[in-house]
Amino acid sequence: MTSAEIRTRVLQALSSVAPEADAASLRSNVSLRDQLDIDSMDFLNFVIALHKDLKVNIAEADYPKLLTLDGCVAYLTAAVEKQRSKVSD
């Protein structure tokens, strides 16, 4: 899965917790919480949506890596690749 595809999935997950968000205006390197006014419950729902969609386990300790759109894409791209390698081994 490419970074662009992951980015699309991340935006879909975000729209499920913040339906009023305008994905086009999101700044990639600015905190999602600050841009979208999402709370802990929204963030948990966001992580659950990514977990279900991408079939990756996201450790709670890694949550800080998901604070920006760029951070999400980088972390999830690596996680999906790691998961794919594990399955093919």
Partner: protein, 387 residues
């Protein structure tokens, strides 16, 4: 014969508009069934019945706005059924609504023959009804295009449209009326305490490391449970003031203040908060917030809170002193979780701390008892594994 009446869904509600019936004459109903949708200033609420029996007649038709206490339907009770819980407010003649016809939301629709042929499991269909989602409008992502529970949840989170300006204005007016009444009539007193959350957060991190992503807890649910258990120590804070005396509540239903994306806030109840496991509470907390934001709350969730908890930490606030929501007699606030220097065994260490606050009705309790309550919340959070 029992009367099913327009319920009072909050101190500020004087009337509601019947939007749709979920039952028709001759249908059997059980205690807890959702049988109607009612629109209040806070949105469309699914109204439960507290009688088991058969619908005899529907007295009020969709689109009519009627005062609280007005008979909406008549129900013949089954033998041995629990008695009807009907407010005792005087019944006034219904006011016929002369506004354009109200269109029932998808949630109000009974499953049609077309809907029943959709590839959807009974569980997902039930969830759709609970969340007010029309399955016919949901694209299934399961095997063969089957509609899954996740599809329904996804649809529920995206379906809430912005409130129209007039609804938003009425919503604001309802909040204004309740808060003005509170400040006018209730002699508030305020207390605060700083809680060391080191143990709670350490336990939570260890606990969540063992859990699958969808089963994880957030620290807010620990706070809710601690408040509920602390109320057992100071039960006078879990009561109502009826104008002359305190009436204690036998159950603890914590109302959780939820900010709505369309603006405003609502504080539905997490029923029996003190008796439930953290996992159970977390599951219902997620569901409650989701339904509050998608406009699918049930009547009992609005009428039952016995105390309110408001957490403002997400907004960067360090301490929040709330305004009591009458007829409740207390509101608990939590601020932001922050790292602060903390003295422990003669050493200065960095610890995550949170400020808890209590706004309470001085007619019902005093500062001494309020202080005991906040201390109990603190004590309970030092032993998170026991929550």
């Amino acid at each position: 014969m029992a009367d099913f009446v327009m319920p009072k869904l909050g101190a500020d509600m004087s009337a509601g508009t019947l939007i749709a019936w979920h039952k028709k004459p001759g249908d059997s109903v059980r205690r807890g069934d959702i049988i109607a949708d009612v629109e209040t200033d806070k949105g469309v609420i699914e109204v439960e019945i507290f009688t088991t029996g058969t619908i005899e007649s529907l007295v009020i038709q969709p689109g009519q706005k009627v005062p609280v206490g007005t008979v909406l339907a008549r129900v013949s009770e089954s033998t041995g059924a629990a008695p009807a819980v009907a407010p005792t407010a005087p019944v006034q003649p219904p006011i016929r609504r002369e506004l354009p016809a109200v269109t029932a939301p998808p949630s109000a629709a009974m499953p049609s023959a077309e809907v029943s042929r959709l590839p959807i499991s009974p569980s997902a269909r039930r969830l759709a009804r609970e969340l007010g989602v029309d399955p016919a409008k949901v694209k299934g992502t399961g095997p063969g295009g089957a509609i899954t529970r996740e599809d329904i949840q996804q649809a529920a989170t995206t379906k809430a449209p912005p409130l129209p300006a007039d609804r938003q204005s009425r919503f604001r007016q309802a909040i204004a009326a309740a808060m003005s009444r509170s400040n006018r009539e209730i002699p508030h007193y305020y207390l605060s305490n700083t809680i060391n959350m080191h143990r709670a957060m350490t336990w939570l991190a260890e606990e969540n490391a063992k859990r699958e992503v969808p089963d994880r807890l957030i620290y807010g649910v620990l706070l809710l449970k601690a408040v509920a258990l602390a109320l057992r120590d100071v039960p006078e804070l879990n009561a109502v003031w009826n104008g002359e005396r305190v009436v204690p509540n036998s159950a603890i239903h914590v109302g959780v203040a939820v900010s709505l994306r369309q603006g405003g806030l609502i504080a539905p109840a997490l029923h029996d908060t003190d008796k439930r496991s953290l996992s159970d509470l977390m599951k219902d907390f997620r569901d409650l917030v989701s339904r509050a934001r998608s406009g699918s709350l049930r009547s009992s969730e609005l009428s039952d809170p016995t105390i309110t908890v408001s957490s403002m930490g997400e907004q960067g606030v360090e301490s929040a002193f709330g305004v009591i929501y009458p007829p409740q007699v207390a509101i608990v606030g939590f601020g932001k979780l922050v790292e602060r220097p903390w003295s422990e065994a003669g050493q200065i260490v960095s610890r995550p701390v949170i400020t808890s606050t209590l706004s309470a009705d001085h007619r019902v309790s005093d500062g001494h008892r309020g202080g005991l309550f906040l201390s109990a919340v603190d004590r309970l959070l030092q032993e998170p594994e026991k929550l």
